[in-house]
Amino acid sequence: MGYIAYIGTDIQFTRLTDKDRRLGLIFLHVYDIPYADLSAYEGIIITNFVEEAFLLENQTILKRYLDQGGVIFSQVENSLPWLPGCGKWVRSPIPIKDREFHYTEPVHQLFQGIDLYDLNYKKGVKGFLTRGYFDRIPLNAEVLLTDQDKQPVLYIDRHTTKGVIIAGAGTALYGYGIQENSTKYLSEQILSYIREQAQKSRKGAKK
């Protein structure tokens, strides 16, 4: 099992649990990116607790990682162009109580077995998944999740770099799951998918 870096600042919300560590996550402080060997990680999850200006200053490191077949799963509400091909996060004009997310058919394996209701509501509360969407997505990106206005909320981009970018518009999907419903295994499914994609894209990048 390869390790996956979990990037953010060191705050209460980003502290890894024992379970996260057993699943192969390693916390990497965002400000350590210039000093870390990212190639040691099969994938990278970037939380929303990052200073985007710093990521922009270090965008070539992320680009190099991707061009070596790396996988980045971003959960950031992007406002700066540090993630190749990614547009900007825009707040949805739809009130949180009325906003709904929809899978793009066929439902992607990332969401296999996950009831859409459980992505829309967490313990009866709406608004956790994200309050926005991307104003544009890369050409040929595969959209996995939209809102009812068909605005893109989560996409996969295999074309902008030699790696794989999975970008959610502030969608804190890793850690979203709760024991009580079908999102229970969402985090595991995300990590499995990242690893699967890393193996495929690293082979491709070497060609």
Binding site: T9, D10, I11, Q12, F13, H29, Y31, N48, F49, V50, E51, E52, A53, F54, V76, E77, N78, S79, W89, R91, I96, K122, K123, G124, V125, G127, R131, G170
Partner: protein, 198 residues
């Protein structure tokens, strides 16, 4: 009254700064990454935004301690983990974010020291959305809001330092920036008015 706010420049924090309705609250925005470039003593009040890199707070803790020792006011919102500032005792708790959608649901909180001057500006029910932890204030500090177990989520400490330390585990600028739980706005306006009045 010159006020600075320390930030990590997360996207949602930047959106908070874009909100004109709160710009009266602070004069300068100080990025935690470059805190060494600023003379903190030129401010009367410094606010530490929620969820700031603890690594950096530890790096600059002496400067914030010096600020408090000089008689100034420091406000810390959100979590205070790893004991990065002395005299603050933090306990993480499970967050109850769904109480308000449950039938007869409640987040029981008890107002303490209701005659305290800060309550001339803050309406007690306005700090009720959720919290991610609690504090055990030091002897002589004034607890302002507590859980039924007697754990504080909001207190003022004028005994540990020469200055005034205001600590709360609620996270208003985080939620206002996210655009999620905008009930946090009246509380923050109340706090801002207290800062500027006192």
């Amino acid at each position: 009254m010159k006020v600075a706010i320390i930030t990590n420049h997360y996207s949602f924090q930047n959106r908070f700064f874009e909100l004109e309705e709160f710009q009266y609250m602070y004069d300068d925005i100080l990025p935690i990454r470059f805190l060494h470039r600023y003379n903190l003593l030129e401010y009367d009040t410094i606010i530490v935004q929620e969820h700031i890199s603890v690594f950096h707070l530890k790096r600059y803790r002496s400067r914030l301690i010096q600020f408090l020792k000089s008689g100034k006011r420091l406000i810390i919102m959100g979590e205070v983990i790893d004991g990065w500032l002395p005299h603050i005792e933090w306990e993480t708790s499970e967050v109850n974010f769904s109480w308000w959608v449950k039938k007869d649901g409640d987040l029981p909180l008890i107002q303490r020291n209701s005659s305290h001057e800060i309550y001339q500006y803050i309406h007690f029910p306005d700090l009720k959305w959720h919290y991610h932890g609690t504090f055990h204030p030091p002897q002589g500090a004034v607890s302002l809001a507590e859980t039924p177990e007697g754990k504080s989520i909001f207190y003022i400490d004028r005994v540990s330092y020469r200055g005034e330390l205001i600590v709360t585990s609620v996270d208003p600028t985080y939620h206002i920036g996210l655009g999620f739980i905008t009930q946090a706005k009246p509380f923050l306006h109340g706090l801002a008015k207290y800062i500027h009045a006192k």
